[in-house]
Amino acid sequence: MAADSYDDVAKNKDSIPSLEVPPQDLYHAKSWWTKYIFCQDAKVIGIQYALTAVAIGMVGLVSSWLMRMQIAFPGVIPMEAGAYYQLVTMHGMIMVVYLLTALFLGGFGNFLIPLMVGARDMVFPYVNMVSFWVFFLAVIILAASYFVPGGPTGAGWTLYPPQAITSGTPGGDGLGIVLMLVSLAVFVIGFTMGGLNYVITILQARTRGMTLMRLPLTVWGIFTATVLALFAFPALFVAGIMMTLDNMLGTSFFMPAIVEFGERLTYDGGSPILFQHLFWFFGHPEVYIVALPAFGIVSDLISVHARKNIFGYRMMVWAIVVIGALSFIVWAHHMYVAGMNPWFGFFFATTTLIIAVPTAIKVYNWVLTLWRGNIKLTIPMLFAIAFIITFVNGGLTGLFLGNVAVDVPLSDTYFVVAHFHMVMGIAPVLVILGSIYHWFPLITGRFLNERLGRIHFWVTFIGSYSIYFPMHYLGFMGVTRRYFEVFEGDNFTYSIIGINQFITVAALITGAVQFLFFYNIIVSSKFGKKAGKNPWKACSLEWQTPDVPPTHGNFGKDLPVVYRWAYDYSVPGADKDYITQDTPPSAVANAKAEQT
């Protein structure tokens, strides 16, 4: 550094800071096992994470079909109440933790971080490999709980004690709940290994010239989400350990003196609400662990396909960071009617509604990126648009539930189910689907089939919107959630049978069309149209690798050098409508780029 004074830098536009990080030695696979199974290449690990997450996610999807059948057409698939609650529980937990968290951080994080920051790999490739296998073990333990006597736990994904470990709940007095808690603990361990890797890679292994404020928002989203996860998961971890102790050794962390079915249990003095605090101290940031990567990725999709820089990049970065920080002081909005001191309501309602401001800024900036853009309605762009609509809808209903007095009638009704599915179920899934269409050419060198893709998009978007939009109104009417039999309440204003059947049919169709998508993936990876290099004409580094798909070590002999931010689209004076991040200023001398 010493030689280049600031003056030199200013005079010579192509000058870049010198190398700070020594080149990384990569482990080169010596056998089939180390190449495909115990692989240390982050890209392969990312794919492994994604495939495992989607595989267990299928269990979650099929569970939702079965639940919807029971709700709308009871008896068609015979099922007892206990089984229904096991489905609800496993569905919720699988979707949130094992599908979305693992897919966004483990899957997208591994694949994209090193490529986007211009690194050869994660900083600790070996630990990264172990991280995946620990995650895999967690999934196996979770799956094993289906085969133990009594079956998996039916405690609801929130696992509230005392119910979670007593005999009135399926799996509560057997191995079901134990395996769930063990699986979560193992998941947290695996995640921590991966998470430290993502954070350190982003902080330490960026290529020359890649300042923090030049990172694509995808990286910012995944980075902040990972930091949140590293702080939040320990709360779940200790809560899980304490509940396991209550369950196995008879301690009373969460268990007060209770009489269950006429029998006095030996517990005394514990606090069920303590568990809820720990759970939601994890659980609320978890919402953002899923949402922030989606925010980041969708920003990049919109920018690339609208051929326009993301509007207000710095504001977008700050919004991500502020949302992440605030997400640690809003947890008790899930507990307004849980019996905690009601005066907490004032504090948590205020913090919760404050989060709406940076969140709204993100929405405005996405829409303003479209404004005066040059919008290509590619499939990733369609998914991005659908995401905005869905997310705005779900975000606005959050203003109902966050405003403590309004939450009182709505809490624990289908309004809540509709809200969280819109905002953290459907919205992130739409981003995932869009980004698979976007990055598939990078992963395989081929496009996904366009016709199938459009069918997939429209059915998924309209289908999922039809599932959840009407559901809010059932919640208004007071239809409570987690009901095995949804009955005609005497005082409901209108029958809910017809609408529930409509929702179920929509859910079955929406779910089924995902198999068309899988078919598309399998067929296109062999026979799809060849994509070539940088097919979307994107600026960010992952598209600038010498080989497509990128090989081990990502960037060939020399790491790229970065001269600008990731959003130089449609720069006035440039010949092309994009300038890649590794294009030196001297190569585009006429371009009038303002921000670099």
């Binding site: 119910q163 009601p342 401001v357 040059n374 369609l382 203003l399 309004v406 009417m477 209108y494 809910i496």
Partner: protein
């Protein structure tokens, strides 16, 4: 073009659904009109934002469709616009939060003189207790619970003996009488929720939670347990019947006190201490 139209359809379709939805809250039967008002206000504000964003996006999709001879605008930032939007949003948020917090303040401030009764939840049914002639609920302890004493009343508390115990899923209450519900659970979490009263609160074993309301309409209203409590959660139902004075008193006269229940089982000696103390009061 098609995409823009569909975005408009989804946006306006949502509004249409909202206007014509037959699924809507049932008429309110308690004093919590403020909750309904805040919800309506929230609907107006959030609805306006939803429509504005949806339509604006449709406009952009239609107007700025890809054309290979054109270039997108180049404007990385526009701090004026960004600040303006931030400020408008903040105002909107305050407009929602302020009325909400006022309602909440009412909700957590129980009026003096509210009639205190107890609701007990256990897997998977409800029980109720009224204070009886002395107007005071006797103290309880979970350790006292047995077949003769399902509420776990302290047998040496003189306030216990005249408490009226209702070991059934249905509860009668008096129209226009402000109630404070003391909520207790014996085993796991439950939640006493009547959609028409709007209010709800979890019942937590090991502590007593509460909420208050005033019924303003006579009628029969269904109770739904609103906090998952195990396999029978969906069947944990019951009725609250809001009566005029006459019907209420008739119902009340048919209920038994703790003392009477024990006497009918021949267990009066269990509360001898309390009875003695009561005479001293």
């Amino acid at each position: 073009m098609i995409v823009a139209i569909l975005v408009i359809l989804v946006t306006l379709g949502s509004v249409a659904f909202h206007m014509w939805s037959p699924w809507w809250w049932s008429e309110i039967a308690s004093n919590w009109v403020g909750m309904d008002d805040t919800i309506i206000l929230t609907f107006w504000i959030t609805g306006a934002v939803f429509v504005a964003i949806g339509l604006f996006m449709a406009y952009c999709i239609w107007k700025y469709k890809y054309n290979k001879d054109k270039r997108a605008d180049y404007e990385p930032e526009n701090s004026k616009l960004e600040w303006a939007l931030t400020i408008i949003t903040t105002i909107g948020v305050i407009a929602l939060l302020a009325p909400g917090l006022i309602v909440w303040k009412n909700f957590v401030t129980v009026p003096k003189g509210a009639y205190e009764i107890e609701v007990v939840g256990q897997q998977w049914y409800w029980m109720y207790r009224l204070p009886g002639k002395d107007g005071v609920l006797g103290t309880t302890d979970i350790k006292n619970i047995n077949d003769d004493n399902p509420f776990g009343l302290n047998t040496d508390d003189p306030h216990s003996v005249d408490d009226i115990l209702i070991d059934a899923d249905d509860l009668h209450i008096l129209k226009d009488q402000t109630l404070k519900l003391n909520l207790r659970a014996l085993d796991v979490l439950h939640d006493f929720y009547v959609p028409q009263f709007r209010a709800k609160m979890d019942m937590v074993p090991g502590m007593i939670t509460y909420y208050w309301f005033t019924p303003i309409k006579t009628g029969t209203f269904e109770i739904l347990c609103a906090e998952y409590c195990g396999t029978g959660h969906y069947s944990m139902l019951g009725y609250v019947i809001v009566d005029e004075e006459e019907d209420y008193n008739e119902w009340l006269s048919e209920q038994m006190t703790f003392e009477e229940t024990l006497a009918s089982n021949g267990k009066s000696d269990l509360i001898k201490i309390a009875l003695n103390k009561k005479n001293d009061l």
